[in-house]
Chain length 467, copies 2
C-alpha cells in the first residue's frame, strides 16, 4: 500500500498538538462540530470563525500552560467565560485557541470579616451571589446575564447591571486578581485590603480590557453586607419621552434609587409571547424603580419616585403589592433580551448618555427606527443614562440587516453628539471598534495601543478586539 495514495487528514495547527501535550487528558477540544459552538459569543452579527482548538483548564497553572503554548506558536488566544457577551469580545478568529473558563468554577473563599470573596473566573455571577447571601453578604454587580455569565467575563467587560445606578459597576468591586500575562507569567495584581495604592493600578487596568492584556485566573472581589428589602414601584407611560422625563426628574431631585429601569412595549410583548405573563396590555413603556433605603426612608423614597412618575405623565403608577409582583416585573426586564432573540438576530446597542439627555436620546432612537424601517425595542438602565436599543431583523432578510446596521451607526453618532459614549457596559469587542475610533482622539487610541504593546508584546491576547 502506497503511503502517498491516501490523502492526508487536514493537518491540525501545531498549537493544538502543543496543547494536547501540555494539558491533562480531556482539557482540549478539537472536534470540529464541538469547536463550532465556540465560534462566537452572543454577538453573532460580528465576524467570527471556528477556532483551531478550545482549551478548558481547571487550574491557574493549566491556564498558564495554554498561554505558553500560544506564545510558543504565536497563536491568537481568545479568553471566554459563558459566551454571553454582546460585542463579540469572545468571538474566535481563524487559527485561534479559545480558552474557556467553564471548568474553573471554584468559590475559593468568602470572608465575612474582610467582606471579600476569592473565586475562579468561571464562577457564575448568580452562584457567587447565592453563596454570599448564605453569609449575610452581597455581591452587587448584576448584569441581566447573571444566571449564566461568569465573574471572569464580568471583570473582563466591566459588566454593569440593574443596581449599578446606586452601587456602581464591576470595577468598583474588584480588589485584586491573578492573571497570566502576555509573557506567560502567572502574577497577582491588586490586593486583599480595603485600601491600597502600591504602584500603578494594573488590576484596575485589567477590568474592562476584554482579554487583550491577560487571562484572568482568579478574582478577589469586595462584598457588601446584605441590604434592606427593596420597595418596588412601577409607572406606565404612553411614550418613551415621558418616561425619560421622569428619570431625569428623579435624579435632579437628589433621589438615589437602587434600580431605575425602562422596558418598552416591544420587549413586553416578546416576553408575553414567550412566557405568557400578560404584561403588554397596559402601557407603551414601563418604568421600574426600587429603593433599598432602610426603614421609613425606603417608603419615602418609593413615594417620591411615584410622585415623579405622575408628574411626568404616567397613566398609572403604584407600588408593587408584594415581592412576587415586584419580582415578576423585574423578571420581564431580565427576560427581554432572550425573548427578543426568539424573533430574529438582535443587534444590541449599549450607548450611555448624560441623564438629562435620556428623553432626547430615546426620541431620536424612535425616529431612527422609523427612518430605517427597523424594529427597535428598548430596555434601559434609565437612571444611569445607559440605553439598550435592540435592533431586530427577520432571519435571512439581508436588506433589513443592512438598514439595521445603518441605524446602529446612527444611534452611536447621536449618542456621541449628546455627550455620551458608544458603550456603557457591554464593551467594544468587535461591534464597537469603529465607534471607539469616533469617540476617542487618535492620541488616546495611540496611548491604548502603546499599553497593549507593552503588556502583550507578542500580540497573542485576543488580537483584533477593542483596538
Amino acid at each position: 500500500m502506497s503511503t502517498t495514495a491516501v490523502p492526508p487528514a487536514a493537518t491540525p495547527a501545531p498549537v493544538v498538538g502543543a496543547l494536547l501535550a501540555a494539558l491533562p487528558a480531556g482539557r482540549v477540544l478539537d472536534d470540529p462540530d464541538v469547536l463550532a459552538s465556540y465560534a462566537h459569543d452572543d454577538a453573532e452579527w460580528a465576524p467570527h470563525a471556528v477556532p483551531a482548538a478550545v482549551a478548558r483548564p481547571r487550574t491557574a497553572e493549566e491556564a498558564q500552560a495554554v498561554v505558553r503554548a500560544c506564545l510558543e506558536h504565536r497563536a491568537p488566544l481568545v479568553p471566554r467565560g459563558a459566551g454571553t457577551g454582546l460585542s463579540g469580545g469572545a468571538n474566535a478568529s481563524e487559527g485561534a485557541v479559545v480558552l474557556s473558563t467553564e471548568h474553573m468554577t471554584d468559590i475559593v473563599e468568602i470572608d465575612g470579616s474582610e467582606r471579600l470573596a476569592v473565586v475562579q473566573p468561571g464562577v457564575v455571577n448568580d452562584d457567587l451571589r447565592a453563596a454570599c447571601a448564605e453569609s449575610g453578604l452581597w455581591y452587587p454587580p448584576d448584569p441581566a446575564s447573571s444566571p449564566w455569565s461568569t465573574i471572569g467575563g464580568n471583570v473582563a467587560t466591566n459588566a454593569g447591571g440593574v443596581c449599578c445606578v446606586k452601587y456602581g459597576v464591576t470595577r468598583d468591586y474588584v480588589l485584586g486578581m491573578q492573571i497570566v500575562n502576555g509573557l506567560g507569567e502567572l502574577v497577582r495584581l491588586g490586593r486583599r485590603t480595603a485600601k491600597g495604592v502600591a504602584g500603578l493600578d494594573l488590576a484596575g487596568l485589567m477590568v474592562g480590557s476584554e482579554g487583550t492584556l491577560g487571562v484572568i485566573t482568579e478574582v478577589t472581589v469586595k462584598l457588601r453586607p446584605a441590604r434592606a428589602p427593596e420597595h418596588t414601584v412601577a409607572g406606565y407611560f404612553d411614550s418613551v419621552v415621558d418616561a425619560g422625563r421622569a428619570v431625569a426628574a428623579i435624579t435632579a431631585a437628589g433621589l438615589t434609587p437602587s434600580a431605575l429601569e425602562l422596558v418598552d412595549r416591544t420587549c413586553l410583548e416578546a416576553v408575553d409571547a414567550w412566557k405568557n405573563m400578560g404584561l403588554a396590555a397596559e402601557a407603551d413603556v414601563v418604568l421600574l424603580g426600587r429603593s433599598d433605603a432602610p426603614g421609613a426612608a425606603g417608603d419615602a423614597e418609593a413615594a417620591e419616585m411615584l410622585a415623579h412618575f405622575e408628574a411626568a405623565g404616567a397613566t398609572f403608577a403604584a407600588q408593587a403589592a408584594d415581592p412576587e409582583e415586584a419580582d415578576a416585573l423585574f423578571a420581564a426586564r431580565r427576560l427581554a433580551y432572550p425573548a427578543l432573540e426568539r424573533l430574529g438576530p438582535v443587534l444590541t446597542e449599549d450607548v450611555c448618555v448624560p441623564r438629562a439627555a435620556v428623553p432626547e436620546m430615546l426620541g431620536r432612537i424612535q425616529d431612527i427606527g422609523r427612518r430605517y424601517e427597523t424594529t427597535i425595542a428598548n430596555i434601559a438602565h434609565a437612571g444611569d443614562g445607559n440605553l439598550h436599543p435592540l435592533l431586530i431583523t427577520p432571519v435571512g432578510d439581508e436588506p433589513a440587516r443592512r438598514r439595521a446596521q445603518a441605524a446602529f451607526e446612527e444611534i452611536l453618532a447621536d449618542a456621541l453628539s449628546l455627550g455620551g459614549t458608544v458603550t456603557g457596559e457591554h464593551g467594544v469587542g468587535l461591534l464597537k471598534r469603529e465607534g471607539l475610533q469616533r469617540e476617542q482622539s487618535p492620541e488616546v487610541l495611540a496611548m491604548q495601543g502603546a499599553v497593549k504593546a507593552a503588556l502583550d508584546p507578542h500580540g497573542i491576547l485576543n488580537p483584533g478586539k477593542v483596538l
Copy 2:
C-alpha cells in the same frame, strides 16, 4: 573694559530659558530662595533638591507648554499640588522643573442633574466640597489634608480619608480627566456619563500614578447628593489592642459606619499642647465612629457601635451630645499630624492590613516602638485597616533618626506578613519604593515599568518616583 574680566553668572539650565520664552510673564519662578520652598513636599525625610525652576501655569495649554519645554530639553518634570504629600512624590531632584498647579484653581462646572463637577487640578479639596454643598451635593473623598490639598494631588495619589470606610477613595469618584501625556499631547481620558467602558481605562490608570504617566490639567468627578446628618460616638480605651478588637467586631457584625477612626494618647497630647483642647486626660486611645444612615437607622447603628465599644472593654463610651462636641473630636483627629510635626520631623507610615489583623498590627507597632526606642503616635482609619503610625524623632538626633528608619522598615515588613500593603492611601513616592519591591513580584514590577515606558517614552515624568 575687558569682556572677560567679569566672571559669568551661574548659567541657568537651558530648560529655564525655554520656559521663560514659552509662558507669559510671571509664570516661571527662578529665584533660588523661592525655589528652595519647592524642594520637597511633606516628606522631607526623603531625598530632595532645589529644582531648576518652578512653572505655575494657569491653563491646560500653558501646562502643555511646560511639558513640551521639558521634553525638548529632556528635563525631569515634577508635578506638584499643594505639597501636602507624605511619601515624597512631589520632591524635586537636581535640574528638575516643578510644575505647580497652585494657580489652576477654577471650578469649571458643577452639574446637579449629572451629579458631577469639572475642576482645574489646583482646586483645594475643601473648596470643591463647599461649592458642592451650595448645590445640595457632596464630594466624599476627605483626606486629613482637605483644607490644603488639591484635587489634582488627590487624584495623583488616589487619596483616601475618613469617610472612605463607607464611601470609597478618590478613584471611586473620578469619571474623567484632561492630561498632558508623555509626548506633550493634551488629551481627554474617561467620560462624563455615569457608566462607560470604551477602551482601556486610562483615566483609572492615571489615578494614583503619582505624576509618572502625565500631568493632570482638569478632572471630572462624580458627586453624591448631600447626605443625612451624622451621629457621632466615641469610646475610650486603655489599650490600642482593645480598640482594635472593637473595630474588627464592628465590621464582622455587618455595620458600615461612615467613619471609624482611632487616635492615641500621643496624638491627643500633641493636639492639647497646641490647641489646648483638654483631650488627653481621659484615655490612652479614642475610637470615633459615625453613622449617616438616615433616620432611625442612624440611631440604631450608633447604638450598635457603642455596644461593640463596651464589649471590647471601653472604659467610657457615649454618643456626642451635640454637633459641636462631635466636630471637636474629629478636629483633634485632623489636627494630629500638624500637631505632631511641631515636636520634630515625622516619618509617616501608611500600612493597610486586613481588618481582622488590626489588633495584632497595633500591638506589633507598640512593640516595635519600644524595641527601637522610638516615639510612635497612632492615628488610623481603623475601619479600613489603614494605620498611620507616626514616628517622631527629636530635631538633629541622628541616632534616633536611624532607629526610626529601622522601625519604619520593620512595620512595613510586619504589615506585609499579615497580608497587608505598604501604602493604603499616601502613595509610594520615594519613601515606599523599597517597600513596593518587597510587596510585589519582579514580574509585576516589570509590567509597571513597561506601562511607564510606553506612556512616558522619554522618561521625563516624575522620574525615580514609585518604580
